[in-house]
Amino acid sequence: MARFSADLDLCHRRRWPGKPVRLLSGFWLLLSSRGLWLLLVHRLSHWWVSRWTGPSRGSWHLRLIGIPLSSLEWLVKVFTKSDILGRSDIEGGVCMPDQGCLIFGAKKMGTGTVIGPRTTIGMSLADGGLPEIGRNVWIGADCVVYGSLTIGDGATLLPGTALTRSIPAGVVMQGNPARMALRDFDNTALREQPDLDADAYVAAVRGN
């Protein structure tokens, strides 16, 4: 749950910058942000999957917890139109889209990563490899990322990118198939401000 409280902090910072997390605002955020529902249920089911594949597989209390958990999973799947692979290892302090339509199957994801709506991150069926996402990555809307690849820390995928190969830290990728648009880019503003127009912002940085 320490991981989930880090998620809540990031989400709070994005919605009300500079305000401290209070009981009421945190609770309201938990009710209103569908990305947080998604993360909460993923944290619970990740714990369940890790126990289930361990030595206590098949024990009666795990089975008992599994029944309400799977119903909760179904509800969240339906309300967010999203699916997160139960065994994917997501560090604390990430942000999932509130608009939903996310299909997520990365092997690992680092802290500070922000993902946009209508994004697919998953397995390449040709070789079955899963992506690994570094820290502080910003992934825009409508992106497709698949295959056994590594996204470096602080990388940025502009909206509509289709990425199939590994990228180093701090680059900006754009287009379908993905091309490198910029190197050594600082995406802190993109991660902290959800309303920023990413294409215009990157174009402005490029122009300087």
Partner: protein
């Protein structure tokens, strides 16, 4: 209808054994796409019933149930398999969310993924898709194109030209990256 549903279930089952009742329930519970296909086949069956009078009466009684099921599939899972689409037996629908299939012909043994959009947005005859075509996530086929047997549309591709058989299409706009590409390992 039942032959088509059987082919769909076998596509989802992905094993050599014949699925039992437990397998069937597990498959239908886990795969929202299979539920959507059940509803689609049911609607096609109702439409074929209307040809003679007793069938028309039965279909008139069953249509409200069909509409409710379609509304549920669309709102809960975001899958729209419309009756104007002609889908062959054994379609595989992987994942869910923002799938739209309308006014097109899809051959037997195809596979589609999440966020796929097939069918014209304005008037037009719609795309014709051959046998054993694999269509990846976020692919868009809105032009009235012909896609050959065994072609592979990679994830995120936007197809606006005719594709010969056994080609791999990638990118936006879609370009043929490789000819004679074999998709039988993951189809």
């Amino acid at each position: 209808m039942f032959a088509h549903i059987r082919a769909d279930v076998l596509r989802f089952h992905r094993a050599d054994t014949t699925p039992g009742v437990r397998d069937l329930l597990r498959l239908a519970g886990d795969n929202f796409g299979l539920q959507a296909l059940f509803v689609y086949r049911f609607g096609r069956w109702l439409a074929s019933l209307r040809q003679h009078l007793p069938g028309w009466l039965l279909a008139a009684c069953l249509y409200p149930a069909y509409w409710l099921l379609v509304a549920f599939i669309r709102l809960a899972y975001g899958i729209r398999l419309e009756q104007s689409a002609d889908i062959g037996p054994g379609l595989y629908v992987g994942h869910f969310g923002r799938i739209r299939v309308a006014r097109c012909q899809i051959g037997p043994g195809c596979a589609i993924q999440q966020h796929v959009s097939i069918g014209p947005e304005a008037d037009g005859p719609g795309p014709v898709i051959g046998t054993g075509v694999w269509i990846g996530a976020h692919a868009t086929i809105t032009a009235s194109v012909h896609i050959g047997d065994g072609a592979t549309i990679a994830a995120g591709a936007m197809v606006n030209q005719d594709i010969p058989p056994r080609c791999l299409v990638l990118g936006n706009p879609g370009r043929i990256i490789q000819r004679d590409y074999d998709n039988s390992t993951f189809l």
